[in-house]
Amino acid sequence: MSLSSLLVPAILFFALGMFACLIKSDLKFPPDMHKMIVIYLLIGIGLHGGKALAGSDMGSAIPAVWAALAFGCGLPIIAYIILRALGKIDPLNAAAISAHYGSVSAGTYMTAVAFLAGIGVTYEAYPVIMLAIMESPAIMIGLVLAGYSRRILGGASKTDKGMMKHLIIDAFTNGSILLLFGSMAIGWVVSDASYNKIEPFFELIFMGALCIFLCDMGMEAGKRLSEFKSVGIFLVSFGVAMPLIGAACGLFVGHFLLGYSVGGITLVTVLAASCSYIAVPPAMRLAVPEANPSFYLTLSLGVTFPFNVVVGIPSYYAAAQYLHATYYPW
């Protein structure tokens, strides 16, 4: 894989956005534009996934579901232990940050899809299910970790049942998850003829729209990046190390347990390595008001997301390629 494969337009637009932020340009996309593109992209990825799944063997999807749940529950616990043991981060901030790493970033996933498309690599239909499933469990684990932390801190362990329920309902009626699952279902059921009618809007122009989305994300990441100092060297390193740990788990699961192709392994790795900045932050703000939002937001948007987009994805792909070539288990 040459350096030129990094010259994916989507990633270059991300860099352009960060650059704009760096030179303090007055470039600014309307906030609603971002929301609209996110809606569009989620539906597009869902429809595409649904259509692909309709042609797949659904029995084979079960392992993907289990892997998604394992990532969602396991990764936050690993993160929490690292933050507490190595970083001496206070329990509640540790809980809030951890939750983010069990969840996923649809933006990172789509960039990976663009990357694979750019170099012409195919992938399985199942990772998109994992994308949809992984948003929520991490929030639950975050709640559990926060409850545990509060007990450590000796505070009244009266976990607010009402809020617990509220958050769980939220996690499953969350707009982006609904869009993803909903459009997956629609992609699944509609006939090919019907799908072809909407394909130009949701697939043909998808990669271009993704560029605009990533340009905006670049600006957002750039803004957060400037808060590096307030976050401290340990947390910044954690923001780079944790996706690598996640990636290692992803590579292992994707290759040895799920037995996917190089493209599929790459996507599973990206899911495990990525970190939520949509569903989890508001949930943690509500559930762990004691935690400092600028910690988890800087880590998620300012460190892990750009790391994954610029360095991570190509590396994960290279690793998947290596693994697939070396330890071919079948």
Binding site: P31, H34, E220, Y277, P281, P282, P289, P293, S300, L301
Partner: protein, 109 residues
């Protein structure tokens, strides 16, 4: 000045800032007190005991809403007494000041 005093009524102006999700509850409460007029400004930001709230923040969008209402003194008293126990839930502020209402053709206070 004669003219002015004829068209002005002494009233109270109440200004409430809460998070946008609680707006419906607040308006219900106000309607319960027979408030006949209020003005609502959405998408406000702010800072308070629960930290910063910024409607423009990318990942953590949090909107405040401002409700302004002018009403007669007793009405204002009732409103304040009704809102007071709920302020914790709404998480915001409520201030009252004196004002003078310019009488118009329709009464909405």
């Amino acid at each position: 000045m004669v003219l002015l005093s004829e068209i002005l009524i002494s009233m109270k102006r109440i200004e409430i800032v809460i998070n946008e999700e609680s707006l419906d509850d607040l308006l219900e409460l106000l309607r319960g007190e027979n408030v006949r007029g209020y003005t609502v400004i959405k998408k406000a930001g702010g800072f308070g005991s629960t930290g910063e709230r910024d409607p423009d923040d990318y990942a953590l969008q949090q909107n405040n809403v401002i409700v302004v209402l002018a009403c007669e003194d007793e009405q204002a008293e009732r409103v304040i007494l009704a809102i007071h126990p709920k302020l914790k839930g709404f998480g915001g502020m409520c201030i009252m000041s004196d004002c003078q209402w310019t009488v118009g053709p329709a009464v909405s206070y």
